[in-house]
């Protein structure tokens, strides 16, 4: 790469051409509370490598990571076991350092892995075609809604309030630019699953799609077949955002009427990574194949008749038809998709089922022990809502003293769930951990 200098004179020229007096003025939108103004803690003299390493370890020890803490925090990002095969294979430099590795002449390994990823996503979701992945669960969902708006020519998007609040924010951002409108329907208070009456009230023939999450943000399992039926009766498409781990035990949305399945792929072998990079799952029924955003890898044969893999359907891709595109996604999360493929290949069908069963059994054990505090009645998968006797903040502070990372404060997103806590229980949590949690809460 060429070295492009950035001298004081260059900077002054750029600043004067855009009419800004200093570089700091470019960052006025960043709240001062998150800016580091005091950098006196950086030593005057350079450290040796050994001293530097010590300093870095001291800093990283402030993180509540590692296995010292048990986590009951979920809400879209989960602490699942990552088999060592995942890091071993994704860490190989052929995969790890490659930039846009899509040239079929030199990248058969990467292209094969993406093709495998797409095939496995289709299998677990029950859909016909999956793309090479998107940025995360939120953008995948918003892209699905754009597809529906584009396909149906209708502007209304009906989404359950029990879909991840952050996903709904992203959805509104996308809709705002595209001139479509987002309407929400409620969940049944005290139950937690979709309020079909409210949904039916909001469904008209002007609706492009109905969106739900499975399981939903407050942990409950939705009756997908019924919601699909309601959507289809008004000519709306049906979009389901899934936790892929739940597909080890729940019925596949593709078998229950979903036209598009999206999801956050982080539980499939990715660390929580402070919120990213994550993996957007996106799969459709055959009818929508050519409307699917992003990249797709296809199987073909070379001039000697040997099987090979290439990017396919590129003519419809957004960078070619830019002015007509309804999506501007021209990339994917190849390394994260690779991690998901290795995870799924390592776990296999029975492994994924076992993870899902452990989540279900352990969270049900916890629910039984905490039955007096439960807020919602609907069946759940690995998350559930409780209302402790003190505020969530107080409870979490107390739990942290016992090396427990507590649950999510739902009052931040749902006024009616003030002082309620979302508890996530994965296979990583042991029975003793649950017993400790129960003891601390009672």
């Amino acid at each position: 790469m060429r070295y492009i200098p950035n001298t004081r004179r260059d900077q002054d020229e750029m600043l004067s051409s855009i009419g800004v007096s200093s570089i700091d003025k470019l960052f006025v939108d960043v709240p001062s509370s998150v800016k580091i103004n005091d950098i006196k803690s950086v030593p005057e003299e350079a450290l040796s490598e050994m001293e530097m390493k010590d300093a870095a370890i001291q800093l990283s020890d402030k993180n509540l990571g590692g296995r010292k803490y048990v986590s009951f925090l979920g809400g879209g990002s989960y602490d699942h076991f990552i088999p060592s095969t995942v890091r071993h294979i994704t860490g190989r430099s052929e995969f790890y350092t490659a930039y846009t590795p899509y040239q079929p002449e030199i990248s058969q390994g990467m292209l094969t892995s993406i093709f495998e990823y797409q095939s496995m996503i289709c299998e677990i979701t029950g859909m016909d075609a999956a793309n090479a992945s998107m940025y995360d669960g939120a953008t995948a969902l918003a892209e699905a809604a754009s597809l529906a708006v584009h396909h149906t020519g209708k502007k209304l998007i009906v989404v359950s309030r029990a879909v991840n609040p952050n996903y709904r924010d992203v959805l509104r951002t996308y809709a705002n630019g595209a001139g479509s409108e987002v309407i929400e329907f409620d969940y049944v208070r005290g139950d937690g699953s979709a309020d079909l009456k409210d949904l039916n009230n909001k469904l008209t023939s002007e609706v492009a799609c109905v969106i739900v999450a499975q399981p939903n943000f407050i942990g409950c399992i939705e009756d997908l077949a019924k919601i699909s039926e309601a959507a289809k009766s008004k000519g709306a498409m049906f979009i389901v955002s899934v936790d892929p781990i739940s597909l080890g035990i729940l019925k596949r949305p593709g078998d229950l009427g979903a036209d598009i399945v999206t999801g956050e792929g982080q539980p499939l072998g990715l660390s929580r990574n402070y919120g990213g990079p994550y993996l957007g799952i996106f799969a459709v029924k055959k009818d929508y194949l050519r409307l699917m955003p992003g990249r797709i890898v296809g199987e073909t044969v070379d001039s000697k008749g040997r099987t090979g893999y290439v990017l396919t359907l590129q003519a419809r891709e957004q960078h070619i038809r830019r002015e007509k595109a309804f999506s501007n996604i021209c990339s994917n999360e190849a390394l994260c998709a690779l991690a998901a493929s290795v995870y799924l290949a390592t776990m296999g069908k029975s492994g994924l089922k076992e993870v899902a069963e452990q989540c279900l059994q352990k969270s049900n054990y916890a629910k039984k022990k905490l039955s007096k505090l439960l807020s919602l009645k609907a069946p759940s998968f690995k998350e559930f809502v409780i209302k402790p006797s003190r505020s969530v903040d107080q409870v979490n502070k107390k739990l942290l003293e016992s090396n427990i990372i507590g649950g999510l404060d739902l009052g931040r997103y749902y006024p009616e769930l003030k002082d309620n806590m979302l508890i996530a229980i994965t296979e990583m949590v042991k029975k003793e951990d649950i017993d400790t949690l129960v003891f601390m809460l009672s």
Binding site: R290, A315, R316, R321, K324
Partner: protein, 125 residues
Amino acid sequence: MYPADLKYSKEHEWVKADGNIATIGITTHAQDELGDIVYVELPKVGTKFSAMKEFGVVESVKTVSTLYCPVSGEVTEVNPSLSSKPETVNSDPHGEGWMIRIKMTDPSELNGLLSAQDYEALIKK
């Protein structure tokens, strides 16, 4: 090469009028420029278009192109064989490769389109 009983648009569609029904497709020149056609996205019967509005998309191995409706009207028929055999547009663009039939609201719009001779002159430029 370009039948005299058809009218042509500058965007390389052809129109064959039969009473107030117009059959629409793309020209030999257009399919030749596109190369092997792999997919044709067409509107539903009953959709209404005004003249020169986008009615669909044709996709070849090398590009994707917008289809424009040369005359105003309502779609009465869509060529059902193109979904499984889009290559018909390459092999017989002015015949079996037709795309939609439209009930015209203003057949006088045909007068604004090109004759075979004018169209041939256009593509020679």
